[in-house]
Each structure stands twice: as structure tokens, then as C-alpha cells.
Symmetry: C2
């Protein structure tokens, strides 16, 4: 069972290779929230998302023999880049199964970082089965994108850094909002946050159409959502919570919030105009939850995680030209 | 004569109202530079540029009687927002003379921050004369945009923070590149940087068509450039260096670099794709200088200041869709 010591050790590994991000504030966001908002900008992280944290934590703990055989992963894009970058840093061969409709920026960056890309059709192929078959052929290790303790511990360093920086700034948050797909980031970060700030309220945030964690919270059992939904949040299109991640989230989360695609688009516009950040749809859900009052922020200190910034320019420009 | 104590005192004033920014690194930029690059992101500053530092430093030192009469400034946009925001923080009435072709985002934000805007035609009116006349009528204090010791001391806190954070990170830079219009940011920062890192090489960076500081360096006398030039860098369209700023820059700068509009546009694209930052043209000149090899960065530690991020979406989208 994963615990805070695993996350603290992951933090030491990541510190050794400068994989931390700052904690920021923005007066315009504070004005809208009518409270204080702390921003953890993982869009500024190496590869433009938090995913390198878990990938590096896992890859750096492989044995020499495992490193020699390389690793295989499947991902819609951010985990792909994280695995490829960690492989490049540790000199490990990486192969990543990616849907052919993944954002171009994510495919290009994964290739540039040295990852071998195996494409598949999101609506026909089974990426997990493809990855498992390749790993078996090559005797290579699999690097799951969320439901693995070393991955969760790596992503949990986001929460650990957030808690420690906020405490050092004298601004311990009352509540934290964390984007949630499979739950690796939210579960690891929740564990770390609770270890440092026992009274904090932690919320996962999901796109309305991919609210599998919200539905699972309601029933107490992991729920799978139907196959016929879509969302602008390509990074959060996970049909079902992970087994390990859901167990941790059940223990530590206060609840799950959902946001619409329109709210996400407005948050991306806000980030361009006021935060001066490039944020991808999946990375913007916690910001959207604050902007659209999904919970009370007035008079409180609220922390949000911006989980990634890998968005194609065409979509970015289209979103910016819409009227609020 | 301004000295390091003035900048240290300005830093204390700014710390009291949370006007500092972090010092960041980016692996993709390091790769292009073939060295280490430290990024001082003043686009993340309140109002989206460093200008609030000087404005707050000056406004917070006014007497009560001066505060009651309000202040008047002239600016193409970033100083306007800085003065308006500092006025809002200190409850001082602000009036700003702005060209009618200033970026819409800068005009809108200045108004939103409570600044009264007086428009004029950039090609016909004399903004300085208009501002002086208004100030005379109202017995209001003028807030010059660069050639004033309190303004220079405020902008110098950028260099002071940069030096202190870099030293704390164990990464004292070999060289620093600072965007230069009238020279307030470069002169104040140069003074601060030299006080902490005596061997550092400091370069100002200008747009090719507004290379008044470069030309003044060549002749040893302040040179005025002709009226018929243009540049995408609206924030750096100053025809002549300031008297005080040029004197300090002559003492402390190693040299002046210039970049073309095309290089600036490419830097804005790089910032979108790899830094996940929104950067305005004038804010991107130091980044452009590194990307286009205006000085040797291989094997060195180079710090750059990104001075602002206030760009209209139309121009941003147009720049992004161009091919590199």
C-alpha cells in the first residue's frame, strides 16, 4: 500500500533532476474568486504536463536488466511525452501506443523526445491489449498511466510541493481542486496534501461527460461510463477510475466537481488573457470550477492544479475567438 | 544618484504586496541554447508586465497631499496598466495618456483597473505635452515611464530577484539579456545584478528598428532614431534612451543586441509551444536573441527577462499560424 514516504522518496528523485514547479498567485483570479487562489502550474513542467513525475519515478526504479529491455506505455499524449522524456533522461528505450487522433503537438513532442510511436484507432483498437502484446514480445516493462503505486507516488509530488510551498508562504489552503482522469494525480496529491494539512478539503474535477469518478463516488463502486460520449478534454477521457487510485480517492477526497466543455473553453480564454498561460482543455478543469463557482471560494484560500498545456494552435485560436 | 540601496528598499515595498515572480527553467530552451537558460517571467506579473514595479515604487512614496491630487502618466500600454494597478492598490486617482492604436488588451485592462484614459493620435499628438498639461491643470504628479530614479529602482527589483534566486539555486548566470525601450528595466536591473554578481555580462536587447540604445552606445551620445520606422514591439518603441537610464547602462552594460520582427514572431511561437507562455512582442526580444544565436550560449548559464505578455488574440493567432 502506497504511503507518504513513497511520495517523499519520489520527491527526492525528482528534485535531483529539477522537476519541480513554483506556486503562483494572480490578482485577477483572486478578484473573480473573491478569495485567494494559489496556482500550481504543471503546464510549465518539462513536457508541458505533470506526467513526467510519475514516469520518471517509475523508470528510475527499474533494475539495470529492465532498463536494458526498454518500456512500453499507452497514452493519449501527456503520459506518452512523460515516458519518452524520462526515457531520454535515463537512456531507456520507450515505445508508446497512441490514438491516431491525439493532438498533433503531443504526437510530435513524443517523437522528438525519442519515443517510438505505435498508432491505433481510438474507436476500434484496444490500446492496452496492443501495449501488453508489444511488452510481452520484447520482455519490456509496462508503464501504466495511473493505476500503479510508483506512478501515483510520482504524481503525488505535485500535492507535496503545493502543500510545502503554501505552508512556507504562510497561506495553507482551505481547499484544493485537482483535475481527474484515471485518478493518479488526484489520489497521490490527496495523500500528500492530507499528510501536511490534515483539515484541507480536496476535490477532484472532471469533465461532465467523463464523470466516472463522480458516479463512482455516488455508488461507492467503480462505475464505467458509456462509450458514446466525447469531451474537449482529451487528457481526461478515462472511462473508469483506477482500482488503486479510486481506493485512495475514496479515503481522502471530500467530493468530485464537474465542468462543461463551454466552461473549460472560457477558462482557457481566462488563462490567455489574465494568467498569460497556455492551458490545454484537460488542464483547465480546476480553473473552470473556480471561475464558474462550482464551490464557494469567497473569503477562502483555494489551490488549483493546472495539469497541462499541450494544445494545438488551431483549437487554441478557435477557443480564443469565441465571445464570453 | 540611484544606488543599490534604493533598489533594495523598493524590493521591500514590493514584497509587502506580493509583487515578485519566480525564476524558471525549460529543458527545450536549454536544448536550443546548448546551455542553461534561466527565465524571469514578468509576463506572469500583476498587469502582465514588470511595469507595476516602478509604478508602485513611485506611487507608494508620494506624500498624502500628492496622493490626494492623483497622478498622470503617458504610456503605450504596459506602464499605463502598472500605474492604474498601483493607483488602485494605493487608492490614488490615475490618468493615463495612451495612443489610440495601443493593443486593445492594454487599453481594456487600464480602464478595468480604474485608470482614466486620454487618447491621442500616435502620429500627430505629443503625449508628453498632453500629460504635462493635464498634470499642471490638476496639480497632479507625473509618473514618467522610465527616466526617473524611483521608477528605475522599482524596475531594478527584477534584476535583484533574478540575481538572488539564481544564487540560491546555485546557478549564478554568466550573462543576462534584458529587453530595452527607454532603459528603465535594463538600467535598474543592471545596477542590481552587478551588485550581486560582479563578473556578470549584461546585454540590453532592442528591436532592430528601435535600436536607439545600440546607436547611442556606438557614439557614446544619446541618439534619436528617425520617425518613419515601425516595429511589432509596441512596448519598445522609444525613439531615444533616457538621460538617467543611458548613463547607468553605459556604466554597466557589456553591449546591446538587436532582433528583427521575424525573430520576435518566432520567439512568440516558441513560447507558446514549449514554455506554455503568452508573450507579447516587446517581451520576447531577449528570448529571440537566445533562439537566434545573437550571442554565445553553449555551455554557459544565460538569464533572460520576459518583460510582458499583453498581446491581442488576433495578432497572437496570426503569428502562431506562420511556419517556422
Amino acid at each position: 500500500m502506497i504511503n507518504i514516504a513513497d511520495i517523499e522518496q519520489a520527491a527526492l528523485r525528482l528534485d535531483g533532476v529539477s522537476l519541480s514547479t513554483p506556486l503562483l498567485q494572480n490578482f485577477d483570479l483572486d478578484r473573480v474568486a473573491r478569495g485567494r487562489v494559489l496556482i500550481k502550474p504543471e503546464n510549465l513542467q518539462v513536457t508541458g504536463s505533470f506526467k513526467i513525475r510519475g514516469a520518471y519515478n517509475r523508470l528510475s526504479q527499474l533494475t539495470n536488466a529492465e532498463m536494458a529491455n526498454g518500456v512500453v506505455a499507452w497514452s493519449s499524449g501527456n503520459h506518452a511525452q512523460g515516458v519518452a522524456a524520462a526515457g531520454a533522461m535515463l537512456n531507456i528505450r520507450t515505445t508508446i501506443v497512441m490514438p491516431d487522433d491525439a493532438p498533433k503537438v503531443k504526437i510530435d513532442n513524443t517523437r522528438r523526445l525519442g519515443g517510438e510511436i505505435i498508432s491505433y484507432d481510438r474507436y476500434k483498437g484496444d490500446r492496452e491489449a496492443i501495449a501488453i502484446e508489444i511488452a510481452r514480445e520484447r520482455c519490456a516493462e509496462l508503464v501504466p498511466s495511473y493505476d500503479h503505486e510508483q506512478i501515483i507516488a510520482g504524481q503525488g509530488t505535485v500535492g507535496l510541493e503545493l502543500a510545502e510551498d503554501a505552508i512556507e508562504m504562510g497561506l495553507p489552503p482551505d481547499q484544493v481542486l485537482i483535475p481527474c482522469g484515471g485518478g493518479g494525480l488526484s489520489s497521490g496529491s490527496a495523500l500528500a496534501l492530507k499528510s501536511r494539512l490534515s483539515n484541507i478539503d480536496i476535490f477532484a474535477v472532471e469533465p461532465l461527460n467523463f464523470d466516472d469518478t463522480a458516479r463512482s463516488f455516488e455508488t461507492g463502486q467503480r462505475q464505467r461510463i458509456s462509450d458514446d460520449v466525447s469531451s474537449i478534454c482529451d487528457a481526461l477521457q478515462t472511462p473508469m477510475p483506477g482500482e488503486i487510485t479510486f481506493g485512495i480517492n475514496q479515503l481522502h477526497l471530500k467530493g468530485v466537481l464537474t465542468v462543461t466543455d463551454e466552461e473549460v473553453r472560457a477558462a482557457i480564454r481566462f488563462a490567455f488573457r489574465y494568467l498569460k498561460f497556455v492551458v490545454e482543455p484537460g488542464g483547465a478543469v480546476a480553473l473552470a470550477a473556480v471561475l464558474f463557482g462550482k464551490l464557494e471560494t469567497a473569503g477562502k484560500t483555494t489551490a488549483i492544479v493546472i495539469s497541462g498545456g499541450n494544445i494545438d494552435m488551431d483549437l487554441f485560436a478557435e477557443i480564443q475567438t469565441e465571445l464570453d
